[in-house]
Amino acid sequence: MRQPGAYSGLRISGKTGPHSLPLARIKKIMKNSSDEVKMISGEAPIVFSKASELFIEELTKRAWMMTLQAKRRTLHKEDVVSAVIKTDIFDFLVNLVSENSGKSEDPQPVMEA
């Protein structure tokens, strides 16, 4: 039986722990996402903490399938990129992963002298 490696502990105590994502950081990311975001309820980062795990899990699994197809044991960036391209719901990530630098939040074009 494949050992269930999925994240098992669902901390809903509101504290961060070894298996949780930092709520303050999540909140910061949420606030940065758009100017329209005004107030965020206390439960929203907690929902995201779990949703993010599910997301990571899903993308990682699909990337790992690419790794296996290439007969490797190390998951590389290219596997993540392939998984993104192959999966419809990850379309929003295509530009992000295709950039060489991988940075998507640079609004200023590079000015050449």
Binding site: M1, R2, P4, G5, A6, Y7, S8, G9, L10, I12, S13, P18, H19, R25, I26, K28, I29, M30, N32, S33, S34, E36, V37, K38, M39, I40, S41, E43, A44, I46, V47, F48, K50, A51, S52, L54, F55, I56, L59, T60, K61, A63, R73, T74, L75, H76, K77, D79, V80, I89, F90, F92, L93, L96, V97, S101, G102, K103, E105, D106
Partner: protein, 207 residues
């Protein structure tokens, strides 16, 4: 270019979650972790924008858990959305119980309620025995198996348990007691991938 690390989820956490779901022998390159870090951060932004748009249109100032669930659904993450709604309701219940607990001392299963982890940490979890509640159409021998049922609560697809995959997981509340997660019934519907596609069984366990 300076990495704005504080705008991303911590790579250590991301890496840990990735490792948990991969086989033990798997390795993950640093770049892959970094890419995942960026992707999940973008995921949060993306979903939040959608949720916040909705709030804005409805003249609401606060983005709440349900808005996130709605946005997940709207953006095609319907599996997540379903799971998250349940998670959210459990969380709200937990908060409610917590405040009730502060008034009265709990009589039973206090450990579960106070630590109140919906899933149990691998090192503290005792294996659950599953009993068969209902049988589907196949007459194959029904294995009972021990497993960490709660780990599967939020693992919807592609989990293999001895040749079975999980179709559906739900939690029912026990009717006789006040809603207390430790006495809920976990129902897992599994189907066999190996042979008969119409084979299904429901497993029940007390949590």
């Amino acid at each position: 270019m300076v990495e704005e690390q504080d705008k991303l989820l911590p790579i250590a956490n991301v890496g840990r979650i990735m490792r948990y779901i991969l086989p033990r022998h798997a390795k993950i390159s640093k770049e892959a972790k970094e890419t995942m870090q960026e992707c999940v951060t973008e995921f949060i932004s993306f979903v939040t924008s959608e949720a916040s748009d909705k709030c804005h249109k409805e003249n609401r100032k606060t983005v709440n858990g349900e808005d996130i669930c709605w946005a997940l659904n709207s953006l095609g993450f319907d599996n997540f959305s379903e799971v998250m709604l349940r998670y959210l309701h459990k969380f709200r219940e937990f908060e409610r119980q917590k405040s009730e607990q502060n008034k009265a001392s709990s009589t039973e299963e206090k450990d579960e309620v106070t630590s109140y982890e919906l899933g149990l940490q691998p090192d503290t979890f005792a294996p659950l025995k599953f009993q068969i509640l209902d049988k589907g159409e196949s007459s194959s021998a029904n294995p009972s198996f021990e497993d960490r049922g709660l780990q599967y609560l939020f693992l919807i697809y592609e989990s293999m348990i001895d040749g079975y995959s999980i179709d559906k997981i739900g939690v029912q509340d026990h009717l006789c007691k006040p809603i207390n997660y430790s006495s809920a019934i976990l129902c897992i519907t599994v189907s066999s991938r190996n042979s008969d596609p119409f084979f299904s069984e429901k497993y029940r366990t007390w949590l």
